[in-house]
Symmetry: C2
Subunit: 347 residues, 2 copies
């Protein structure tokens, strides 16, 4: 196997570790790292919560415990994001790497923060560490897309989740029951919720569905529940709703009389990196028109037709998506993609 | 490799040969056959047109030419459909098989015609030929689904093709150009047209789009053009339309003042086994409501929104689909499936 392929193999291990942190690390990005000696992983680490130790430090500590200090001079560190070079809530990872005397460092993605971009690389090279960057960069960039939106655009990444029939109908005839999508798709949505720090709906959805918007099942264990945000223009929300009365009611935010943009700014200021928009069609169409949706997750049920109610789009809106993908989720089709044009709050 | 796996390997070769006949053999089904001695194919055949020789006869003739007569007593014949036992426009294939003295016959699908079902099997067994049936049966049944609909329900199989955006909009804003789906999807539609004997539209589509509805490109070479059927309730179709004036105008049928059901019956009587419905939304919704659509091919473009116009469904129609599949076709998503409830003209 050529060296490049080895590098990708180890980096994929680091990416898998990093993905465990999705939904846990905001406002930090998820990061993973492995320490490799010869053809074996001797240390693993992933960033588990903001304020906690970084992936590199955990992986080095794991390696020290498993094979001792001395062998680290023959080791390579694979890390999914450029090591930090500044004091944040923890000391800089570059210092820890240099102290360990590592022979080589391999990185997937460069720090998107313009204040830090390439600074970690410079310090490592200056100290004589062999450095390879950009290994599995696309996967690495995808993994930190929430963080990049936060840093570069001053707002959370927004995933809009919606369900319809094959004809774009969003409502079923009453006789067909309340759910458009299957149990499998609803389980898949739990996977989306797990990655997001907040779930946002409009007052309309609260009144009509009285949803719980919670993480449930094995995915929920040991995790904080996402914030549950109701964006509404008017009074009169039913105070007996689950969101205001259940055991997680302190995780509910009422955003009344403010715009979606203002709501997202408030969430950003609370440290939220990713928002799952589970609203009805009107708020969804508004959000797309305002270029405030980054990603679409559309669940299509295997039926044609429905009750009155279609996926909406204001006027002759036409929003392009890229990186379209389709997958069968149980009996349904899930289509996901990223909107080509999105709004920054900074520029 | 166990014998069963060998059988499937050879049957897949026969199925591939059979599929070459799609769109050419109506009112007969496409059929393919291979003759195998030891671990080699020594003869191949596929049914090329109604009235022409059957696949089994062609495969046996091919084998005779390649390895001679005598070795056939050690040969196995793999054929995608139960060999015919009656005189049609050609002598029964069972006679040809027995005359060749084959050791073994392997079949995918049983003849769906209740008058013939199992008759070929009986004659072969009676003559002491080793017989295995049901190998790759699902694929075989799928390949002859047009024929089965004809035989069992007295009407053609109807594939409805339509295109929309991810929000179910069927019209683009004028500024976005005339095509919802990509060049790749339009090429994919050529593949559908190639399988069908007729393309059906309503007068509305003729007036609005003035389409050609022809087979084009390499797929068209040496093939008859499909019938082009316009189903319309009223006079006043533009006589200068391509369908009435181009070089294939003798392949155009004007079905005026009759129902869709009557139109399909007329096509059935002309020997049509498969119809591609490329109409607008109103006729499509009517056809689905009347349970006259067997299969849906929905092309979704990677955009959200559109001009005024949605995929339609009358009232609170909700038609279930099964065997849903999704595939990327260039930048688009194609979703296909079969309607669970369809109408028979015989029962």
């Amino acid at each position: 196997m050529p060296a490049a392929t080895f590098d990708e193999t180890w980096m994929r291990e680091a990416l898998t570790l990093a993905s465990r942190g999705l939904g846990l690390t905001s406002p930090n990005p998820p990061v993973g790292a492995v320490v490799v000696v010869g053809d074996a992983i001797v240390g693993e680490g992933w960033h588990q919560r903001a304020g906690g130790p970084h992936a590199e430090v955990l992986a080095l500590a794991d390696a020290r415990g498993r094979v001792g200090d001395e062998i680290l001079s023959k080791a390579s560190l694979y890390v999914t994001l450029e090591p930090c070079s500044t004091h944040g809530r923890t000391p800089p990872c570059v210092d820890a790497i240099l102290a360990a005397g590592l022979a080589r460092v391999v990185v997937a993605s460069t720090d998107p923060n313009p204040l830090h971009t390439g600074a970690g690389y410079g310090l490592l090279r200056q100290a004589g560490v062999e450095l390879t960057t950009g290994v599995c960069e696309a996967e690495g960039d995808h993994l930190i897309r929430f963080f990049s939106r936060r840093i570069l655009d001053g707002r959370p990444w927004v995933i809009a989740k919606t369900a319809a029939t094959l004809s774009g109908h969003t409502v079923l005839p009453v006789s067909a029951g309340p759910w458009i999508s299957s149990a499998e798709s609803r389980e898949d949505v739990q996977g989306l919720r797990r990655q997001c720090d907040a779930i946002l709906i409009g007052g309309e959805t609260l009144r009509r569905d009285n949803p719980h918007l919670t993480l449930r099942g094995p995915l929920a264990e040991g995790r904080p529940q996402p914030l549950r945000v109701v964006l509404t223009g008017r009074d009169g929300l039913p105070r007996e709703s689950h969101l205001f009365t259940d055991e997680f009611s302190e995780r509910t935010r009422l955003h009344q009389g403010i715009s979606l943009r203002e709501s997202l700014t408030q969430l950003h200021d609370e440290g939220v990196s990713a928002v799952l928009l589970e609203s009805g069609g009107r708020l969804l169409a508004h959000a797309i028109k305002e270029q405030l949706v980054d990603e679409l997750a559309l669940y299509l049920a295997p039926v044609f037709g429905g009750g009155p109610g279609h996926l909406q789009a204001p006027g002759s809106l036409l929003a392009d998506l890229k990186n379209l993908q389709c997958t069968m989720i149980g009996p349904d089709v899930r289509i996901s993609g990223e909107f080509s044009k999105t709004r920054s709050f900074l520029r």
